[in-house]
């Protein structure tokens, strides 16, 4: 089964995203900030990471830059899922190594469409 780490400081968003991803055939894990997510990735590198931007301790972009420096950290497909919905943020995320970008609010169709974009549909 494909694995996805959902990183978001909102418990509600993590729950909603995990439910959608589970329905789409993913085994999900959760992290509430970048630091916890990085620890999780070191223990088990997921196939995909759904990543919020603004979080305490370590932001999504900081996490992504750190992840890409980790051993096998280039492997996970990283899809941002954030309220940072401006062109500059999207460009910064892509520059940091994001594969796709979801602008909140999102629904199941958007997640499914983005999974297709990154070849995980």
């Amino acid at each position: 089964m494909r694995s996805c780490l959902v990183v978001d400081d909102s418990r509600v968003i993590r729950k909603v995203a995990c439910r959608i991803l589970s329905d789409l055939g993913f085994e999900t894990a959760e992290a509430e900030d970048g630091v916890t997510a990085l620890e999780s990735c070191r223990a088990h590198m997921p196939e995909m990471i759904l990543l919020d931007w603004s979080m305490p301790n370590m932001s999504g972009v900081e996490f992504l830059r750190a992840l890409r420096r980790e051993r096998a950290g280039d492997k996970p497909v990283v899809v941002f899922c954030t309220t940072e919905n401006d062109v500059n943020s999207i460009t910064e995320a892509l520059g940091a190594g994001a594969n796709e970008y979801i602008m909140k609010p999102f629904d199941r169709d958007i997640i499914q469409a983005k999974l297709a974009e990154v070849g995980l549909a």
Binding site: N85, V87, T91, Y101, I102, M103, D109, A113
Partner: protein
């Protein structure tokens, strides 16, 4: 809904657009007509149909548009665009290398997503900078949809279904929570309201016709007529792109399938008067 009203709507739609209502459920019809009823002040479908029977053309047009409008998305049915990008476009760029002119028709463009998707793929080749003249002609029976396409303004959800974020950043600019198609793409696309039952006389020398998921809604006579007219406006070495489950087989002998490319057709050798004359 009264059976009489359904029968009247079925007949009217078929006459005005070639669309087959088939066994559409009353809820579907009422759902599609709800905005028209609000706009024209009707409380129920019966009242609306009663007015239609008096021959109000503006109302009939609005009903036809509401019933025939289909939701679309950027790069919808991606395999068709893969075929266009990997097979059709390279062939045409070679064949038209000296004329440097391409005319592509999106025959039922809805709010323009198909036409702009085509324009994005063309823009990848920077053809305008290389001196090419590109015309993407986008038509739809719905004047409202055509107006939306011309505006090129799409909502938060529309730009996140089928459109890779890299293309969003490269080709759109943000306006509040909406996104507007960039000027370079909009210059390539010309929108026009057009009923496929009307004469194609104003169209000529088309390199590629995108007519995807349209025939499936039309009655037999309309399908035959549309394919016949497409065969007249399509260049002898052009391409017809239908929906991947659609076929001209049994409707027209003017097209041959391209093996291995579902939905892609070329003018049949035997049906090429321009080549036969030459």
């Amino acid at each position: 809904m009264k059976p009489d009203d359904v029968a009247y709507l079925t007949h009217m739609l078929r006459r005005r657009s070639g669309m087959m209502l088939g066994r559409a459920k009353p809820e579907f019809i009422e759902g599609r007509l709800a905005p028209v009823m609000r706009r024209f002040g009707f409380k129920d479908v019966s009242g609306l149909v009663a007015e239609l029977r008096h021959g109000r053309d503006a109302l009939a047009r609005a009903v036809t548009e509401a019933m025939t409008t289909n939701e679309s998305s950027f790069f919808r049915d991606r395999p068709s665009f893969d075929v266009f990008e990997q097979l059709v476009l390279p062939a045409l760029l070679t064949r038209r290398g000296s004329a440097k002119r391409l005319r592509i028709w999106s025959a039922a463009c809805a709010a323009g997503q198909e036409a702009y998707s085509i324009a994005m793929l063309l823009d990848d080749h920077k053809l305008a900078a290389k001196g090419w003249t590109i015309d993407v002609i986008a038509t739809d029976i719905s004047a409202e949809m055509v107006a939306r396409g011309e505006q090129g303004l799409y909502g938060h959800f529309e730009v996140q279904r089928g459109l890779p974020v890299r293309r969003l950043v490269d080709h759109f600019s943000q306006e509040g929570s909406s996104w507007r198609v960039g000027e370079n793409l909009r210059r390539m696309v010309t929108f026009r309201p057009f009923n496929l039952l009307d004469s194609f006389g104003w169209l000529e020398d088309i390199d590629v016709v995108f007519c995807r998921n349209v025939l499936m809604y039309l009655d037999h006579k309309a399908k035959v007529g549309v394919l016949d007219q497409i065969s007249e406006v399509l260049l002898p070495d052009g391409y017809l792109m239908l929906g991947s489950v659609e076929t001209p087989q049994g409707l027209s002998n003017a097209f041959d399938p391209v093996p291995g490319s579902p939905g892609l057709y070329v003018p049949a050798r035997a049906a090429l008067p321009r080549q036969a004359v030459g």
